[in-house]
Symmetry: C2
Subunit: 328 residues, 2 copies
């Protein structure tokens, strides 16, 4: 009997130049490069045990058995390590995962989840590879996990093969960005995969693809020059571009809820009085407000009055990391 | 001393295939054809007096002096008649106009206003011309007035000269369409002319122009075959297309308010339980819900609970008409 056990945590991401659209569903290869930033305030914490005494592969997320889809994606990640380490077939995996935030609200629990899982398995099997290799493997679980795992501000590069599509870090927490998260639950009947499909089917999608390279260049420059206002402005422009594309897909999806528009309008008001606040929305109704660290508290105060809404402040989060505290 | 006096009323329009973008600002020539429908429930009522005893041209809307912009546009209409009838220069005009609905909420008071004004002047001066000619003149005041004046479902055609850009009627109130109007005041700092400019500056505008001819063809067919559900569906698609284009303009305009999204979500729920309800939003936050006449009351009941919102049911409205009751 041999048993490998390890734990790790990873942070969810906010899309800055957002990624929708794949050229390969299995390898999760994207149609275009994308840039995101990790949020230190939130994390997925994962413990794995890999052993030849386990009867089955099992996975539990937030005290509930994982969905079939999540399980399949986790096994893709596990199998990549199996291949890398020549782990025999009789070894199975037990995965226990916990989020310190609500999942399914557009906060990217799959990015932090698969980043944590990849790091945990790597740590358990004592695989000696760099973050670039881990980024490729995390990608097999979730596209955005390939960015989450490297941390900070990271860019995920397009490639047509598994080997060449990974993320690398543009900058870390030296950029004075703070993010206020205004948590708005998304509607249960709108899976984020549907939004992905809608994006590709909009008549505007080709124009979006054409605009992406310039936006990426501008965003890279803003990050490298620590220009927090510019980062916020570009992410806001990309938010509207992406949501315009989603809502013109065949299902006419609107991911926003009334409170989403309320938050957007408050952000405008803040800007009118000189506060550098910029909204950003991923595939959900939750709003990130990007700002310079000096203004974070002032902005947070504005959002205390909205009914049924939780707010958080987050710093830039770093890469996924192993931990010696196990969940079981 | 000679005095001409007459009154007329006109109905506002709902854009079905919406018009944004001009190729000539003065002649108000559009970039593409558009189709709209008049609402019988609302009207502008206007009385004009044209006389050589008046010192100045004056115009009052809802008991307030008209803005300089509205006055200028009214004088363009008046001058067109002046030319047509060889009216001497010493004749001035007094205009009193009243709306039976709130203006500035995206309900198109300029369409009904300039339709009523054109009809009133025509009636006062006893000009014997057809609706096509009046449509061209109304267009000089407001593009959508060229459709409002002919009434029912009307299409406004593109042309590069004044003579050839007018509206004609596709169908009247024999189409069993009912419109539930959910009145949501738009933000005062967002003039609808700004939205027009934004549309043309979006990176998606060219794609919109490319999609318009097919949408017009589909909408004409739906109207001619009295297919109310199809009319509603197409108007909903065009609403999202237009608003996607507006929000990706340089100012990132969002014309919706929280309640707008609330109404959209309620419309979705209605459809889920089999009620043919389709939303449509012009340049404002107010929502029209298009439906078959059989379902109008059931839909109206759904919207009584929303705070601070007024609702109305409207039939298809017909052309602008003279009236013998004067406002002064």
């Amino acid at each position: 009997m041999t048993k490998y056990k390890a734990s790790a945590f990873g942070h969810p991401i906010q899309g800055l130049i957002k990624y929708h659209g794949k050229i390969d569903e299995v390898l999760r290869l994207p149609s275009h490069n994308s840039i995101s930033v990790n949020l230190s305030r939130f994390y997925t914490y994962t413990t794995v045990e890999i052993s030849n005494t386990l009867d089955n592969n099992t996975m539990e997320i937030d005290d509930k058995p994982a969905s079939r889809d999540a399980m399949e994606r986790a096994l893709r990640v596990f199998n990549a390590f199996r291949k890398l380490t020549n782990l025999p077939e009789d070894y199975k995996i037990k995965i226990i995962s916990k989020n310190n935030f609500m999942s399914g609200i557009g906060l990217g629990s799959s990015s932090s989840g698969f980043a944590a899982l990849t790091m945990a398995i790597s740590s358990a099997l004592k695989v000696d590879v760099d973050l670039t290799t881990l980024s490729k493997i995390a990608r097999l679980g979730s596209g955005s996990a390939s960015r989450s795992i490297v941390g900070g501000f990271s860019e995920w590069v397009v490639a047509t093969t598994h080997e060449h599509s990974y993320s690398y870090r543009l900058a870390g927490d030296e950029v004075p960005l703070k993010m206020i998260v205004v948590e708005i639950p998304k509607l249960k009947d709108l899976p984020s995969t549907l939004a992905q499909i809608e994006t590709e089917k909009s008549i505007f999608y080709k124009v979006r693809l054409g605009y992406i390279p310039t936006m990426l260049r501008k965003m890279r420059n803003a990050i490298l020059s620590h220009d927090v206002e510019k980062i916020g402005e570009l992410a806001e422009i990309d938010t509207l571009n992406l949501h315009a594309v989603i809502m013109t897909g065949p299902n006419r999806l609107i991911l926003w809820r009334p409170q989403t528009v309320e938050v957007i309008r408050k952000v405008w008001k803040l800007r009118k009085r000189g506060v550098p606040a910029y909204f950003s929305i991923d595939t959900g109704a939750t709003v990130y407000i990007n700002t310079h660290e000096k203004f974070a508290e002032e902005i947070l105060d504005e959002f205390n009055g909205i009914e049924g809404i939780n707010t958080y402040i987050s710093d830039v989060g770093l890469e996924a990391k192993p931990s010696s505290n196990h969940l079981f």
